[in-house]
């Protein structure tokens, strides 16, 4: 097998004296969709942010395309084309939808802006209607779309999605998952996503990891994890309504 696009090895992250990640190993290969599932507070979002250097890992290593990025500042990691739609969406509230998307495209100084924004609008037509509206006035679902759209504007090699389905109506979730699948199939976009919605995420993914208390306890193909009785009991049976 070729070297992974993203390689996380033995990463430990602390908030003050509290250890949030405890020796995490994860790899993501080019063209894959990989999901990370786990309960609240397991450290999923911390891993996403640690990959982006905020906070930096205290020990262990993270490499991207073979380059060690563990100690790089966040903006330089972003410039390697790792884009994130983070926990809480983090839309710029006093910028318009269009400006938020421009921020996403600022790595290329808006060179491909016109083409790319059309793609995002095709994916999320709602954003087109709202383009002149301030980010802070959007509904939760619209903000989620904007957050994903903004990440896509960076033309990422690796797209990190932190709970893209959070707070969305089932129909919209379906739409977003389909959009992710489509981007992956058609453009070969590599996606690493964190989800509470374990069923939807694993069905979508090539592979998955299960995280408990800052450790990866299980990994496998999406199909295997879906069939695994432990995973079913802990993450699926309760949350499939």
């Amino acid at each position: 097998m070729t070297a992974p696009l993203l390689n996380v090895r033995g990463v430990e992250t602390y908030y003050g004296n509290i250890r949030a990640l405890n020796g995490v190993d994860v790899e993501v290969h080019r063209g894959e969709i990989v999901s990370l599932i786990g309960a609240n507070g397991a450290g999923k979002s911390t891993l996403m942010m640690t990959i982006c250097g905020k906070p930096q890992a205290r020990s262990g290593s993270i490499s991207f395309e073979g380059q060690d990025i563990t100690r790089l500042p966040t903006h330089e990691i972003a410039r390697l084309r790792i884009a994130q739609s983070p926990e809480g969406r983090r839309i710029f509230p006093r910028m318009t939808v269009l400006e938020n998307l421009q921020m996403g495209a600022s790595l290329d100084n808006l060179k491909h802006f016109k083409d790319d924004v059309e793609k995002v609008f095709t994916l999320f037509p709602r954003l087109k209607e709202r383009q002149a509206q301030r980010g802070g006035t959007l509904s939760g679902g619209e903000q989620q779309m904007l957050s994903i759209g903004r990440a896509l504007m960076a033309r990422p090699k690796l797209l990190l999605l932190d709970e893209p389905s959070l707070g969305l109506a089932p129909l919209i979730i379906k739409g977003i998952f389909e959009a992710i699948k489509k981007l992956n199939k058609q453009e070969g976009l590599t996606v690493f996503l964190v989800e509470q919605n374990a069923f939807g995420a694993l069905k979508l993914s090539d592979r998955g990891y299960v995280m408990v208390n800052g450790r990866v306890t299980m990994s496998g193909t999406g199909k295997d994890l879906l069939a695994n009785p432990e995973v079913r009991a802990a993450y699926l049976e309760g949350g499939r309504h």
Partner: protein, 300 residues
């Protein structure tokens, strides 16, 4: 009536200067949430740089056109003030980012003292006068408007337009606004937050230096303590307009200028500063977010 309009003109002139200084306070507050108390002294330092340029010009290039002299004074003032403000941020504020809230505040007061003492030691403690640069006065419907007042208002208007354009229409401005609204997210999108903050200090200092040059030209004198009173008044202007808001800073500056000149005209001039700072107190009590400010929202 003429007397009133006259005071209005004087107030607007003074207010323009306060507005230009206030922008530096409000931008820095917006982007890193601290009050740069050394900003008033950066303004004073800009005035001194302009004074030195003026003295050099009159010594070595007698007969230099006034427009060119003013331009050189402003440019050198801007560069000097920008360099100082950049350095202060780099060595005194940046290491304290993420520290407890009072630390940068105390440091800023310290930097203010450092700057004014530095100027006192190197330039002397006395008032430094310059001869009037532009002295024409026009009579208009019984109101006298001096050329220097016109110069101040016009230069302020031009600079504020340029500034508005940078903040609202350029990639740099967009990065600044993004950093102001959510610096962590800005970094995730590839914005070099430290660099953006440095640029903000540089821009604020450049405006303050122009204000310093205008102040020197208007009053014909500068002294090392000049950073304090105009600095605090510009800060008051920023709070009055709504700290963090750029139009607010300009509006606040104009209002403070008007209040000061109208108070001096109709009441006692001795109490003009009392009037100004009473307004600060009243605003803080009844409308802490200022005229154009937004109510403080806890960031999560």
């Amino acid at each position: 009536m003429e007397y009133f309009v006259q005071q209005l003109v004087n107030g607007l002139t003074l207010g323009s200067i306060y507005g230009m200084i206030a922008i530096g306070y409000t931008m820095v507050y917006g982007i890193i949430g601290m009050i740069n108390f050394a900003h008033g002294d950066i303004f004073m330092l800009g005035g001194f740089a302009a004074l030195i340029v003026f003295l050099l010009l009159t010594t070595f290039m007698a007969g230099v056109p006034v427009v060119l002299a003013l331009l050189l004074m402003m440019i050198v003032g801007m560069l000097t003030a920008a360099l100082w403000n950049w350095t202060i941020e780099r060595v005194a504020y940046r290491p304290l980012r993420g520290s407890f809230r009072l630390a940068p505040l105390i440091t800023a007061i310290g930097m203010s003292i450092v700057l004014s003492n530095f100027i006192q030691v190197t330039q002397g403690p006395r008032n430094k006068p310059i001869p009037p640069l532009v002295s024409s006065v026009y009579e208009l419907f019984g109101i006298s408007i001096s050329l220097k007042q016109i110069v101040i208002v016009v230069i302020t208007a031009i600079l504020l337009s340029v500034f508005w354009y940078i903040v609202n229409r350029t990639p740099l401005g967009r990065a600044q606004r993004a950093t102001e609204q959510d610096s962590k997210m800005a970094a995730l999108l590839g914005v070099d937050v430290d660099r953006t903050i440095s640029v903000t200090f540089i821009m604020g200092a450049a405006l303050a230096a122009v204000a310093g040059t205008m102040y020197l030209m208007y009053y014909g004198v500068v002294v090392f303590t000049d950073g304090f009173a105009p600095g605090v008044k510009a800060f008051t202007a920023a709070v009055l307009g709504g700290i963090g808001s750029l139009p607010g800073a300009v509006l606040g500056g104009l209002l403070i200028g008007l209040i000061e000149s109208l108070w001096s005209a109709y009441f006692t001039i001795d109490y003009k500063d009392v009037a100004t700072f009473s307004i600060l107190a009243i605003v803080l009590i009844f409308k802490p977010s200022g005229i154009l400010g937004r109510p403080e929202v806890e960031k999560v």
